[in-house]
Amino acid sequence: MKMLINGAERVIGDALRGMAAAHPELVVDAENRVVVRRDAPIPGKVGLVSGGGSGHEPLHGGFVGPGMLDAACPGEVFTSPVPDQMVRAAAAVHSGAGVLFVVKNYTGDVLNFDMAAELAEEDGIEVAKVLVRDDVAVTDSLFTAGRRGTGGTLFVEKLAGAAAEEGAPLARVAEVAWRVSDASRSFGVALGAPTTPAKGSPTFELPLGELELGIGIHGEPGRERRAMMTASEIAEAAVGAILDDATPSGPVLLLVNGMGATPLLELYGFGGEVIRVLRERRVEVARTLVGNYVTSLDMAGCSVTLCQVDEELLRLWDAPVATPGLRWGR
């Protein structure tokens, strides 16, 4: 497999050095692997820290900035970062108002963030945690590690970030974050597998004429392999899986997310089908975002995320945000 890299070992460091050079509004510590907004810590403001394996860009580093994250910790490709990074990030953004860890629900992420929370609290930093677990493809039962965090992470980081930017205290920011997390549902589909630099070949084989339903964002195969479907059928399957899990009783935010290698042209066509299905199922879409936001390297495919919102959450969504990956209102 060909990659635009200097060697598998250098991928993360090189990317962070490039981020540092491209974004003077961020402080990027490529050695210790922490991305922090330049004006942190902001007196009186709760610090939002997230992180996870790399390969999902712009998540998380691209969501650092006013109105969203204060810091992000990029791990190795598809590998949770280590506690040292998180502790360093917490210290960098802590102004005395405490820190919220936004954690995608994977065993590795949970274990590392928990260790970090313990260490940060030993350092006198109050830490709260929100788990994102929005992927309805995973049955949440005793027989799994629980639902994965995928596209819903964007909503949690944006809305909790807006609350923190408004000056809400830690308990309130955490409450918003949990509310958003609980209100988010996602479903993903792969037309092809990603290739990690370390492995150098696709993480699974997907023959022509087949697709994977219910995939995650780490190159793991999905819940089910099926004969190739049209965009319209895929939209029905994805929306169907989400609504079967829980039908929203109010308006939703909609994320039509590309996995990395699916052209925006196709993604918009797919998004149109998703909106059609939602309309047929009488779900009101308040805001729509179409693009590559929570990716899986060069995976071909897409995911759909719905997040039910009330007036307050909608206001937080519309609030200004200024990050490399998401920006409006300033």
């Binding site: 598998a8 394996g53 791990g75 190795e76 490709v77 598809f78 590998t79 949770s80 970062p81 280590v82 506690p83 040292d84 994977y106 065993t107 590795g108 274990l111 590392n112 260790m115 493809a137 995973v138 049955t139 005793l142 027989f143 799994t144 590690a145 994965r148 990690t196 370390a198 492995k199 993480t203 699974f204 995650g216 780490h218 190159g219 793991e220 195969p221 819940r223």
Partner: protein
């Protein structure tokens, strides 16, 4: 019953680092089938960092060797395996205290405590198709190091038939059956290196 000094533990973990370096692709391949294709590179990175740390400032006591190694794993591996293997070694290191030499019974007891700590942290039990399916039988076979190696290998082999209930592989449900758990395979490597270190004494 033999006594083990810090050198023994350093040799064990340095040998293990060599195995992980050599076997990284195989572990990643296993993780690719039912996980996210990173277990080999995770463990290679962590164990090479352990070997480097032990080389740079070799601790003088068995417990200190394990503590330093565990902390290094936590700081360099990430993923699920970093905290889990880190906890295994840190907990075992704590159990060994400051003693400059420890007997094999103490080693067995310390590693068993480490495995208990892993199980508690991970919320996993036998049969969940995780590293515990290799670690648990291995520590139960101690202090016979050769038997522990065999038990770990058989435990890893037995994960092939299991359906995963923890970690990433659990997302696959029935589709996880038929593949060896990468963490169990790496645990077998760890006990293989331990048996070799013991045999070399």
């Amino acid at each position: 019953m033999a006594f083990r000094d810090a050198g023994f533990f350093r040799r064990w973990l340095t040998a293990a680092a060599g195995s992980f370096d050599a076997e990284a692709d195989r572990l990643t391949e296993l993780d690719s089938a039912i996980g996210d294709a990173d277990h080999g590179s995770n463990m290679r990175r962590g164990m090479l960092a352990v070997a480097a740390a032990l080389e740079k400032e070799p601790p003088g006591a068995p417990g200190a060797v394990l503590l330093l190694s565990g902390r290094t794993l936590v700081s360099t591996v990430g993923g699920a395996s970093g905290p889990l293997y880190g906890t295994l070694l840190r907990r075992a290191g704590k159990a060994l205290g400051d003693a400059e030499r420890v007997d094999d019974a103490a080693v067995a007891e310390a590693l068993a405590a480490g495995v208990d700590a892993v199980a508690q942290l991970a919320g996993a039990v036998a049969g969940d198709k995780t590293m515990l399916d290799a670690l648990r039988p291995a520590v139960e076979a101690l202090p016979d190091y050769a038997a522990a190696r065999g038990a770990a290998a058989r435990g890893a082999e037995a994960t092939v038939g299991l359906r995963a209930r923890k970690g990433r592989a659990s997302y696959l449900g029935e589709r996880s059956v038929g593949h060896m758990d990468p963490g169990a395979a790496s645990s077998a490597l760890l006990f293989d290196a331990l048996a070799r270190a013991a045999a070399d004494e």
